[in-house]
C-alpha cells in the first residue's frame, strides 16, 4: 500500500552561509520556517521542490520534509532531525537558529 501523503515543505542549506532555509510560496528561499510553502499533495510537493531546486545559485541540497500545521498555522517538522535543523545543536543553545532573534532574511528569487 502506498504511504499516505503527509503535508510537506521544501528545505535546503544556503549556499553562502550554509544555514537552513525553506522555500516559500513566493518563489524565494527564507530562513523563517513560517514562510515555507506547504504542499498538500504529492504533485504540489514535486512542483515546489522542482522550483526550489532550480535556484542552484542560492541553495544546496533541496529536499522534501514532512510537516504538520500547528495551531498558529506554522508548519512543524515531524521528524526530530528536521526539528533539530530548526534549532541548532542541543548542547549549545547559544548557537544556531535557536540563538537568533529570527528576523526573516528573505532572498528574492533570481
Amino acid at each position: 500500500m502506498a504511504k499516505a501523503f503527509k503535508t510537506q515543505i521544501v528545505t535546503a542549506n544556503d549556499l553562502f552561509e550554509g544555514d537552513v532555509v525553506y522555500f516559500t510560496a513566493g518563489g524565494f528561499w527564507s530562513r523563517n520556517l513560517s514562510d515555507a510553502a506547504v504542499a498538500h499533495s504529492k504533485e504540489d510537493a514535486d512542483a515546489i521542490l522542482a522550483r526550489g531546486e532550480a535556484q542552484q545559485s542560492t541553495i544546496v541540497g533541496a529536499y522534501l520534509a514532512d510537516v504538520a500545521i500547528g495551531a498558529d498555522g506554522v508548519p512543524q517538522p515531524l521528524h526530530y532531525r528536521e526539528h533539530r535543523r530548526t534549532l541548532g545543536p542541543s548542547n549549545r543553545p547559544d548557537l544556531g537558529r535557536q540563538a537568533e532573534a529570527v528576523a526573516p532574511i528573505a532572498k528574492v528569487a533570481a
Binding site: F16, G18, G61, H79, Y80, S90
Partner: protein
C-alpha cells in the same frame, strides 16, 4: 616536528588559490553544486545540518603551539570561538561561511597546515600514537614513518580515486594507543630476531556498518621496504576492491571475501614484481625526515621526583590529576600529561579558542613546543618536567582543563552526532553529557576504574562504538532516537568488536542501562584490580544481558 620545504609551501598555496577560484566560480554559477561538491570535499569542506564544516588534518596528531594558536585565531575570526578535536586526530570547525574558507585555508598554510585528503576516497590523514617520541614502551618513534607515508600518500596520482576512503595508523609501541587493528592498514613496529626494527603489517580492520579486526598480512616487513609494500597493498585494493556497492567497498570486505591467504599472495606477487629501488626512499631523505623528529634537548633535572611528590602531598586535586592524566616518559625526570577535553557536562573533544591558547602557551613554555591530539579526543603535552607539572596543572585547571578523568568512565569518545552531522541518525553529545554527569563523582568513577565508553550517532561509527568497553550506537527507530548497547569492545593490541546486548533503549533509559552494567560489573569483579573488560571477558555477556533485560521481562515479551 616536520617543517615544510619550498615545494610543500608552493603546493599548499597553489591548492588554496585553486580552491579560491573554485569557490568564486560556484558563487557565480559557473560551477554547479554537483561539480563543486567533490572539489570542496577534496579540501575538507562538508555541508552539515546547520552550516558548513571544515575538517583540517593534523598529521599524526602532532601540533606546534603556533599551529594551535592559529586554530584559536580561526575559531575567533571565522567560526564561533571553538573547535572540535576528532577521533582521527583532526580538528573540525562547525560554522565557517563558504566565502571565508579560502581565507581559512590560507591561514592554515601560514602555519604549514591544510585540509587536503580529509574527505573523499583517498588515503586520509595518517594517525599514530599520541605518546610518540615520549612513551617509555616505544621501540621507535613512529612519526618518521608517518611522515614518510604522508608524503607518499599526499596527491598520490594512482590512489586519488580508490573504491573507498583509506585509513592508515602507525604505532611504535607494543601497547597500541593508535587502534591500528581498526584501520585499513595498521603498522605496528616490531623487531626481528636480529633486533632490527620493522613493521608488522595489519590489513582490513575497520569499524562502520561491518566492523572487522585487522589481520596480519606480513609478520615482519623491513623498514626500507615499507612504501613498496604499501603501494602493493593499495594497488591490489584499487584493482580488486568493490566499486559496485559503497557499503562493501572498504578493503576489509576485500579481505573478507577474498580470504587472507589469497589476498596475501596477490599482494606479495605485486610486491615482487615492483622495482625495489623505485620505492625505496634514499638514505638522505630518510635522514632528513628523521632529523625533524630528533628528541628535544631533555635536561637532567635534580630532584624532579621529590618535587613532584611534595606537590602531590600539598595538593590532593593535583595528586588525583597526576594519578589519572600523567604517565611515564622515556626520559627520567619527565612525564607525559593528557589534557582532558571531557570536562563534566561538556561536548567531548570541544575546546574554546581561549583554551587552545592556554594549551599552546603551556606547550611552548613547558613541553618543547609540542602538543598532540589523541584519537580519544584529548590533547597531550608530551614532554613535561616532573618538577613543573604542578605549575602546568594549575594553569590548566584555571582554564577549565584540569579534569582528572583520563581512562575513566567520563573520558568518552562521542562523534558530533545529530547535533551537527548530516549523516547522523541520533544525537551523541547529550548522551555523553548525561553519562558524565551521572558518574561525575570522582570517588565513584575511580571505583569503577578503567572504562571506555564510545558513542556513535549512526552506523558509520565515527565514535568507535564497536571497540568501546561499552559501545553506544544511536539509531532512528520509527522516528525516535534509540540507542543500542554493545559490550566487550577493545581498540588496543587485544582488539575486539563489542557484542550487542539486545534491543536498544530510548534516550532517557541509556543512563539507567549504563548504571546497571556498572553495578553488575562491581558485583561480579574478583577485586578492585579486575577491570570491567577483564570481568566481561571472564564471565561473558549473560550477567550483563540479565541486568539489562531481566529474564522475566524477556520471557514475557
Amino acid at each position: 616536528m616536520y617543517r615544510y620545504d619550498e615545494f610543500d609551501h608552493d603546493f599548499v598555496r597553489a591548492r588554496v588559490a585553486t580552491f579560491r577560484d573554485q569557490v568564486a566560480r560556484r558563487v557565480t554559477g559557473a560551477l554547479t553544486e554537483e561539480e563543486f561538491r567533490p572539489l570542496r570535499l577534496q579540501n575538507g569542506l562538508y555541508l552539515q545540518l546547520h552550516a558548513y564544516m571544515l575538517r583540517i588534518a593534523v598529521p599524526y596528531g602532532t601540533l606546534s603551539s603556533r599551529q594551535m594558536r592559529q586554530f584559536a585565531l580561526i575559531a575567533d575570526t571565522w567560526d564561533k570561538g571553538y573547535g572540535h578535536f576528532t577521533t582521527r586526530q583532526n580538528i573540525q570547525f562547525n560554522w565557517p561561511k563558504l566565502k571565508d574558507v579560502p581565507d581559512i585555508l590560507d591561514a592554515l598554510a601560514d602555519v604549514e597546515m591544510h585540509a587536503i585528503q580529509t574527505s573523499g576516497n583517498c588515503i586520509r590523514n595518517v594517525t599514530s600514537d599520541q605518546f610518540a617520541g615520549a612513551a617509555s614502551d616505544e621501540i621507535e618513534d613512529p612519526r618518521p614513518t608517518c611522515e614518510l607515508v604522508r608524503q607518499w600518500s599526499t596527491n598520490h596520482p594512482e590512489f586519488a580515486f580508490l573504491p573507498r576512503k583509506f585509513k592508515i595508523a602507525v604505532t611504535g609501541s607494543p601497547n597500541d594507543r593508535a587502534a591500528v587493528k581498526a584501520h585499513d592498514i595498521g603498522l605496528r613496529m616490531v623487531r626481528d630476531d636480529a633486533g632490527a626494527p620493522g613493521y608488522e603489517v595489519i590489513v582490513g580492520g575497520g569499524l562502520g556498518r561491518t566492523p572487522m579486526i585487522g589481520k596480519v598480512v606480513r609478520e615482519f616487513l623491513p623498514k626500507d621496504q615499507l612504501l613498496r609494500y604499501l603501494e602493493a597493498i593499495l594497488r591490489v585494493y584499487n584493482l580488486h576492491g568493490r566499486r559496485d556497492n559503497k557499503y562493501k567497498a572498504r578493503i576489509k570486505i576485500l579481505v573478507h571475501e577474498t580470504g587472507l591467504e589469497e589476498l596475501r599472495a596477490m599482494i606479495e606477487a605485486e610486491f615482487e614484481a615492483m622495482d625495489a629501488p623505485t620505492f625505496a626512499p634514499s638514505a638522505e631523505e630518510i635522514a632528513r625526515i628523521e632529523a625533524y623528529f630528533a628528541p628535544p634537548a631533555f635536561e637532567t633535572v635534580e630532584g624532579a621526583d621529590a618535587a613532584l611528590e611534595a606537590a602531590k602531598a600539598a595538593d590532593p586535586r593535583f595528586a588525583a590529576w597526576v594519578d589519572t592524566n600523567v604517565v611515564d616518559h622515556r626520559e627520567p625526570g619527565y612525564a607525559i600529561a593528557t589534557i582532558s577535553l571531557k570536562a563534566i557536562g561538556e561536548a567531548p573533544g570541544d575546546a574554546t579558542s581561549e583554551q587552545m591558547r592556554v594549551m599552546a602557551d603551556l606547550a611552548e613554555r613547558y613541553s618543547f613546543d609540542e602538543l598532540r591530539v589523541t584519537h580519544e579526543q584529548n590533547i597531550v603535552l608530551p614532554h613535561l618536567r616532573k618538577d613543573q607539572l604542578h605549575e602546568v596543572y594549575q594553569a590548566l585547571d584555571a582554564a577549565g582543563l584540569g579534569t582528572a578523568n583520563i581512562g575513566l568512565i567520563s573520558d568518552m569518545i562521542a562523534c558530533p552526532g545529530l547535533d551537527y552531522c548530516a549523516l547522523a541518525t541520533a544525537r551523541s553529545i547529550p548522551v555523553a553529557q548525561d553519562i558524565a554527569r551521572h558518574f561525575a563523582d570522582p570517588v565513584v568513577a575511580r571505583d569503577i576504574g578503567e572504562m571506555k565508553i564510545k558513542i556513535s550517532g549512526c552506523i558509520n561509527a565515527c565514535g568507535h562504538h564497536h571497540v568501546g568497553h561499552i559501545g553506544i550506537l544511536g539509531l532512528d527507530k520509527g522516528g525516535i532516537e534509540n540507542y543500542q548497547i554493545t559490550l566487550g569492545g577493545d581498540a588496543t593490541e587485544t582488539a575486539a568488536i563489542g557484542e550487542r546486548m539486545g534491543p536498544g533503549f530510548p534516550a532517557e533509559e541509556v543512563v539507567p542501562a549504563i548504571e546497571r552494567i556498572v553495578e553488575t560489573y562491581k558485583a561480579e569483579r574478583l577485586n578492585r584490580e579486575e577491570t570491567f573488560l577483564q570481568t566481561y571477558r571472564r564471565i561473558g555477556a549473560e550477567p550483563f544481558k540479565e541486568a539489562l533485560y531481566p529474564s522475566e521481562a524477556r520471557h514475557a515479551a
